[in-house]
Structures are given as structure tokens and as C-alpha cells.
Subunit: 643 residues, 2 copies
Amino acid sequence: MDVPESTDDLRAAPPQQYVQTFQLPGEFKLQRGGVLHDVDCAYETWGELNSSATNAVLVCHAISGDSHAARHDPTDSPGWWDTLIGPGKAIDTDRFFVICPNVLGSCNGTTGPSSRRRVESGGEIAGLSATACGAASSSANSSSAASITGESTTDEPVDEHMLPWGAEFPDITILDMVRLERKLTESLGIKRLRAVVGGSLGGHQALTWATAFPGSTDLCIAIASSPRLTSQALGFDVIARNAIQTDPHFAGGQYYSRPNKPDTGLAIARMLGHITYLSSAAMESKFELDRHDPRHIASQFEQRFSIGSYLAHQGQKFTTRFDANSYITLSTAMDLFDLGGDAQNLQQSFSRCDCEFLIISFSSDWLFTPEQSLDIVEALTMLDKPVTYAEITTPAGHDAFLIERDISQYAPLVAAKLADHTSAATVALQPFKTDSGRESKLTVASEQIEQQLLDLIEPGTSVLDLGCGDGRLLEELSRRGHQRLVGVEVAQDGIHAAARRGLNVIDYDLNQGLPAFADSQFDFVVLSETLQIVANIQSLLMEMLRVGENVIVGFSNFAHRKLREDFVIRGRSPRSQGLYGHAWYNTPNRRFPSIADVSDLCTTCHAEIIGAVYLDTQAAEVIAPDNDPNLNADFAILKVRQL
Amino acid sequence: MDVPESTDDLRAAPPQQYVQTFQLPGEFKLQRGGVLHDVDCAYETWGELNSSATNAVLVCHAISGDSHAARHDPTDSPGWWDTLIGPGKAIDTDRFFVICPNVLGSCNGTTGPSSRRRVESGGEIAGLSATACGAASSSANSSSAASITGESTTDEPVDEHMLPWGAEFPDITILDMVRLERKLTESLGIKRLRAVVGGSLGGHQALTWATAFPGSTDLCIAIASSPRLTSQALGFDVIARNAIQTDPHFAGGQYYSRPNKPDTGLAIARMLGHITYLSSAAMESKFELDRHDPRHIASQFEQRFSIGSYLAHQGQKFTTRFDANSYITLSTAMDLFDLGGDAQNLQQSFSRCDCEFLIISFSSDWLFTPEQSLDIVEALTMLDKPVTYAEITTPAGHDAFLIERDISQYAPLVAAKLADHTSAATVALQPFKTDSGRESKLTVASEQIEQQLLDLIEPGTSVLDLGCGDGRLLEELSRRGHQRLVGVEVAQDGIHAAARRGLNVIDYDLNQGLPAFADSQFDFVVLSETLQIVANIQSLLMEMLRVGENVIVGFSNFAHRKLREDFVIRGRSPRSQGLYGHAWYNTPNRRFPSIADVSDLCTTCHAEIIGAVYLDTQAAEVIAPDNDPNLNADFAILKVRQL
């Protein structure tokens, strides 16, 4: 077999002609107590900063990434996020000034464990043995130096007193990475970013920008990220570091001048990483056909199965481009990242944020799970922070954030959030009331319903719309000046459409209740044309009454005269002609309530009906309350509140 | 923190006074071409073999297990399956003669890589280097010998020409293990086992007994098992072996006489194993509270997080009781195990089986997934082989098969399958027709329905009962002499009750169709009082018509007069008083069809109604076909076949 491709196969050292270096003279104090001197930060940029410096987008890379996020021109080597970043793409380099720095602690230009520091004899640096120092000085120009490109791009002779940090490199945190990135963006004249965007470890950086530095960015986009690692993910990282640190060639981390590096341990660590980046289903489709037919490659590692030769190939290749000490440093920083393990701590972490959020997860990502992204979303919604969330359905696992097919699924959301809705909204969006002459009866019915709903919502109030669809109702409320508006939707096209309207919409299953929302958080909670697909309507209604001061429920009345006649005369399961015109045996609907049924349920839930509109949508008429709406209306809108 | 307990914490070397050794003189040829000489097999037994030798149960252990499956007396050290095996337990040692051998290739008494073989100078064994041989002979009594207990329990001086196999131990397979186990059971005078039972690698052995040796056992119980490893699981095994084999102390596998063994690599392999044995949720609850508060233990391994000290502890402890070469040998045997990667190959593997099967999986097991167990079940049902299957709901992951709480969930199924239904059935089971004087109206209705259903099923036919509940209908059919009877049920108490009746019942979600069943596999497919909870009734009906020559559908008629009146007069969602008397907003039912609706659907599905019974269950009357059953019957039973 051929060794299957991996997102890793694209990687090589960034093309040096595009890499710039920001130099930060003096001390750089670290969160956990260490100190670095004269830190370098390698970075690349695309596009141009506008005169007001308001169009800067910072892109943050993942653990084995680097500054080369995208091609700079057609002849350039591929970037790791080419699908997302470029002229006319979601992160449009014709509009935005895009910056991608190499993170602190890495080995692609920014200061890290392979960087050299000045060693003063008998001085502060006691941790280095004389042997290691001697060896390092004597072979500083050995072949292994190529893979530890670091602090200098010149060919000056190496200073006898400069030695790599190695394992003496201090503990760094995601906060330290972000603090260096802030120094970089400040040096470029940027006071506030338009957005900070990243996946995996890059997502951790984006979340740290938002939580630690309010006012630093308009928008935080965290993809395939989490508030902290799961215990399982921690366990994998611990094993990976153990494999590196127990490799005899690790030599306490001072291997740079030795003939052998801890390549075996680093390769094993990378093999483990590769398994966690893929879903089990993705591995199955990649390796099942030729399970017993491995490709033979030159390797000390087992190659009994196709997965074996793949792992051997990926593990070995990684050792040619990455430094073992950097891997330890960066994975430890990820492991130490912790915005909170419960709702209370998470809310505290996000309490000072003032930016908008876009959170993206992937259904088959078991390393940074959708549930973990949802924890972030729930903390934000509880705090009334603007957030849009989508779980992308994919078999690709954690790697999905780097895969073209999946990027094309979430890129429209990135583009929508980066669009300037404040100026474009009134132009770009369709009018809420369209010329109904050309519309189907169905659209006419929907418009009647929406118009009546709007009339029940007092001006200026906050609204949570459950099952918001493409966000038409919320958009109209926004146009009418309502400020705190949140939509909930599970259909991906609905989420995309609502995001394009500049709305905040959350990918969320109503069957689990409303744990993301606080008591009395909204003036109005709306559930329209959605009630019939919910499994337990009683518990959802109680949740709505908890979260909203007022609840508005719009639903088709299955005791409408036509349906009753149909049932009584034809003896068929009730079925409406319009909105709910499915066959009884395959309808997505699972409830067929009448107005009387829902009224009864309100009583059961200790709620009172404080307003009601009854419609005959086919006749486009309002049915008066004394005209037996349960018989004559095909749709009802009830305004309810807790007794 | 304290290092949390693990199922591994119980393990120590088996108490020698209970371990017997079966010696197989001469050559033992292996499946993949190697040859062993004078193989030993360590084993333990419980209970007594009866005079007809028909009460023997073989218990097979997992990768790091041994022969000590259970205590022999109250003062004995704990066994790894004490909850399942013992007097009065599911595997009742008062009734059964239980045998547990240590597997071939292991290191607890049965021949494996740490066993010594005779080395003839210049002879067949060319793989050993002179250095390794010399070192081995000169220190054969070193302290490390204790952990490689092997071929001999005597204290004779070690023969100068006996050296451990080490990495020269040939590839073995699960089939080789089972062939040795068969030699053992034959030597004990057993021609056919009552059952062979095992979890994980033990399940692979049980499946191999059933597939490779028809006639060798009445019953095969495979728990937390699979037809082959997933690519993901293979990948973890490859990494584990790489960690061992690249440990410098591995020394090409000839480390037995050296001062150091490849303990680092073996510990890393075991750490990886531990993560795969637990679910992510189980790890979360085990390590979250004290994530940043690891227990300090003496270790070369990282202990930054509580999971870190746990893994260090478990990894190190394992090296004191297990041999690295055995770990490689056994994990390779698991990886080579392959009953087929698709339905066709799987069916071929199981085609000659003549035993009954009990397959158990665990919902959170991501190493050997429920889907993999279901693949086995589907192959067996396609082949008309008797099988009972249950997926146990648990957060414990793969380890669940060893955990008391989960054992107590599946033990009743093991006990039910081991019970002798041929003699006890007529005594132990309740009569189908009970004295209805004491029964509720509901039971009376159910009995009317069942009686009518039975009358529609021709004598001696094969029947698949979908949503079989506790198996009452199938039990009555069994009493009437029907042979091929299969039940499908998702409720765990239903599965247990049906198994207690001696029936074959499969844990299966009808919403996924009937892929486990072949075209025209059954004379009758029955779906009674279940139709209303299925999401897509059309596709299920088509599947039933594909699998059954005849289909019988029993369902509540929601167009019954009382319901119509209720709907028309009261304007409430139709709701029956009896079987389906739920509130509209929380009923598990999602369909409310009338007799006319189902009749229409049959036409849509190109099926004809060839028989029908209409009931007024409240009045306990049959409604004549010309007496408007759609109005007057509250229950209908239709017999349908494809046109």
C-alpha cells in the first residue's frame, strides 16, 4: 500500500523569505515564574493593515504548526490553512491584515527550548552539566542544527557562550504565548484585533486572548477547542512525554550537540498523537482495505499492519522537523491550560470578556469533544455574551479543522462573523415582508404567524428564539431595535443563514432542556412551529418558563375543523394540509396537540395564558377568542407566564 | 491524592497450591509455522466433573490475566472473576466443573517467551547470539527469574543448555491457544464443554472454540469481544510494542539474564492499555477532582497530574508481574485474530458453528465496541444460529467486563444460558393463560391479543418477534413446538426475562431496519404493540416484508369510536384509555395510526392483507370485518404479505 496522506504531509519548514522576526529586548517574565531574555517571535503576514489599524486578524497555530498558515503567492509552498485564508476566502486577505506568529516554546523561529542562551561561567545557570556544555559548544554547527532553526538567521560564528536551553527551558503557559503575541501586534501598531482565530492549541490561544485581555479583539473564533483537556487527553500527553523523556538519547534534554536525538521517543509521541487526531471511523476507512499489506519503509519500528507502517512513517518524519523539547514544552502548556472544570469556574473565566465568539466543534472529535465546546457556549450564554456555535458533522475527528472538506463547512460561519453587519445589514438582507403575490400559501401562512408573533413581543425586550430556523424573526426584531437576541437551531443551513444575517445562533438540541440558560434570562422565549417535534413538551415548557419572563408558543392546531372532519369521516390519522402535511408514518412530527391540549398543559405547568392569537392561515383570517378557536383556527399563538 | 483503584490492583501471581500443570509431550505445531516442544499448560479448576463429563465450563482470560479466575476457598487470594464464578453464582461451581488455563504465550505457568528451550550447539536454533546465550547461562538464577515462572515448579539445578526463548518465541495465534486448551480438556476426559466463556482476548478464544471446532461446546459466551480489532486498537497495540522493542534494555528480546529488563517500554505499553480500557467519562470522574494534585510515588515517569501518577503507578507495577516478550506475543496474537472484516467473511467464519451464543457488549467500550459485537450477532442471525445479545449500559468502558457492578448486570444472562431449559422449562415457567379474575383489564387485553396472534401463526413455522418484551409469545410458540424463534428487544429487563425463558433474544434498535436478517429468513415476522414507537414505519414494514414470508402487525386503532368522540367533542389529541394511555406531551408513542391508515400503508408498500382480526379489547369482543372495524375496534391484527 501507499502510506495514506495525512494533514501532516504538507508540513515543511516555513519558507524563510516570508518569515519576519519580532525581537523583544530585555526580560520576559513567565506566568509560572521563569524568565526569558531577548525573546524572538517569528511571524508571517498577508494583506495590508488599514490606516485605522482595525482590520487585523491574528491566526494561531496548533502544537506542530508554524507561521506559514497560507501561501503568499501561487508559487509559494502550501500553508496549513490555505483553504481558509487568502484573497476572497473566508479570512479574506484582500480585506484583512492577517498575522500568524510561531508560538513561544516552538522550534520554528520563535524562542523555545532549542534556542540558545548566554551561559556565564559560575553564573545563574546551574542546571547544565559541564559535559553537556562542552559537547554543545564543540559541535554547534553539526547537521542537527538545521532542525532547530531558532534565534538567528545570520551565519555568524556561534558564540562560545551560547548554549541551547534544552530541558532547562522554563514552564510556559498559553497566557505566556498570548502575551508575546500581544507584544507583536502592539509593535505592528494594532490596538484592537478584528479577530483572533485558531484551532486546537490555536483555539486555546484565541480563548486566552478573549478571557485574559478584554478589549483586545472584536471577535474570538475557537475551533476544535476546549476549556481544558479531558483526563483522557491529559493521559495521552503524559505517555507521549514519558516516551520522549525516557529515551536514552534524551540525555536530560541536552541532546542538541550529540550524535543522536531522542527520535525514538518523539516518534512514539507523534504516533500516539496521530491516533488521537483521527476518529476510529476515519482510521477504519483509511486502513481496512489493506490491513495486512503494510508498505515497507526503512524503519526501526514495527510494520506488521498498514496502520503500523503509517505510524512508523509519520513518527519518523516528524523527528526531521520538530524538536523533542518543544513538543514537551507545548504539550505541557496545553495540559496546564484550564479555564475551569465546572460551570461556575468557566463563567468566572469568561466574565470579563467583551468580544463576540464563534465556537466550532466536530462531531467525531474525541480529543476535544463537542461537549467541551458546548461547555464554553453554555458559560457564555449564561453570561449574556454574544456567541454563535456550530457542531460540524464529519467523520474526520480532531484533524477536521485542517481538512479542506470540513473547512468548507465552517468557513461560511467564519466569513459571516467577519462581515461588517453594522453597515451592511440594511442593504444585504431581504425585506421581512415580501410581495406575497408570488409567494406560496405556505410562505403566506408563515408570514401571518410571524407578524402576529412580533405584535406580542414588547419593544426593546430580550428574546430567545428556540428553533429559530434561518433567523427571520430575530432579524426583524433586530431591525426594530431589540438588543439581546439569541437563536437556537440544530439544522446547519439554518445556523449558516442566521449567522449571515449577523445573528447569534447556537447549535443545540432542545430535547436536553435549556441548561445553557439562566433563570429569567430573557424577557421572551419563543417556540414557534417547533413544539410538535419535541419529545417531552412538558419539560421543555417548564424550562422555557424558567428562562423567560414570558413564553410565546406558536403551534398548529390538530383539532382544527378540517382535521377533525378528516379523522371522523375518513378515519385517518389527523394530518394538516399546510405546514405539517406529512404522511402519518414518516412525519418528523411526534406530537399532534390541539389548542385545548396546550392550554391544559399550561395549567399542569402552573402557567397562565396572558395573551392569545388564533389564526385560520388558509383563509388568512384571525379567529376571535369567542369563535371556538379550537375548532376554527388552524394555528394558535399563546403568550404564557409562570403563575 | 490516593492512586485510584484499578481492576489491575487485584492481580498478583496465582497462588501456586491451586495451579496444576498439564504437560503435552512432543511437538506442538503452530498455525503460522513455528514449532514448540514439550509444552506446559498451567490451569486451575473449581467444582467437580460429573460422571458423564457434561458439566465442564472453560473460562478464558484476557491479555494480562492468569489461571486464577476465582477464589478456591474463603482464605484464598481474590480471583479476577470472583463475582461471576463460585458456589451459587452465575457460573455455579456447585453445578459446573470450571477450568481456567493460562494461555499459551503468557508468563504465568504456560509455555511462553520466558520459557526455556534446549539449545543444542550448532543446532536448529540459530537466532540467538553467542553473547546473549552466554549471558543467559551464566546468570540463570538471577533475581529476575522469579517473574518468569515457567515450565518447571521443581528446584532442580538449571540445565546449562536451557535458555529462554525471548523474542525468538514464534508467532502464535488465538487458534494455537485454543488448540492447547483442547488438549487440556481432552486430557481431563471432556469431549464437549457445556460452555466456553471469556472477555476481551478471552472472548476471542471463546469465538475460536465455536468457529474452529464445531461440536466442542454447547455454548459460547463472548464478552467485550469482537471479530477483529479496529484499526484504532491495532494502532495502539503497534505503539505499545514499539515502546517495548525500542527500549534499549529489550536487547533484542534476550534480556532475561541481564541486570535490566525493558521495564520502561513495558510500563509505557501498559499505560496506553489503561487509557484504552477506561471510557473518557470514567477517567473524568476518577481524575477530575484532584487533577492538579498527583500523588508522589518513586518513579522515573512524569507525575504532573493525578492521571500521571496513576499511569506511572500502574505502568511500573505491571513490570513486576508481567514479561515484556509475553506482552508482545499476546498482543500480536490479538492483532492477528480476524474472523472477517465484512458480513460475507464473518458469515463464512461462523457457518460451521453448532453451538448457542451469548454475546455481551458494553455501551462505553471504545476498544471493543458494541457495533463490533453486533457484527457478530448479525452474522449469526443471518445464518440462523441461536444467539442472545445484550449491550450493557455502563460508563466503565472495556474494563466493565471485570467490574462487579457491571458483572451483576450481565451475570443473569450467563446464568440463564447455562440453565438447563430442556428439562426445567415446563416446570419453571408460568402458564401462558393465567386466571384472569385477578388480572387487570390491561393484562386481559394483552392476553386477548396474544391469543389471536397465535391463531394466525401456522404450526411449526419460524417466527421473528420484533419488540418481544419478556418473550411470552415466543415462549408459548416454543411450547407449541415451533423451532426457529428469535426475539428482538431493547429493554434490558425484557431481554433478561426472555433469556430466563430459554429464548434467543437480541438487543436491537428497530429504527435502523433489519440488516441482521436475510431475505425471507422467517415464515412469520411479528410486530405487536410496538408500531407506534417506531420513527419510520414505512421503511420498517418494507424490511419486515423482506425478511418474513408473512408479516403480522398488531396495533391500537386510534380511529376507534371512543377516541374519535374524544377528539371531536373534547377537541383533545386522541388518547386511548388502555395500552396507550399516556398524556399527549410525554408519551413514548410517536405514531397514532388507524386501521385505515395501516391498510393504506400496506398498499403503498405493495403488500396485501391476507388475514385480519379486529378486537374491542375493553368489551373483550371480536369485531366482524363488516361491522366497520375502523370505528368499532380498538385493536387490530393484520396478516400481510408481499404482493
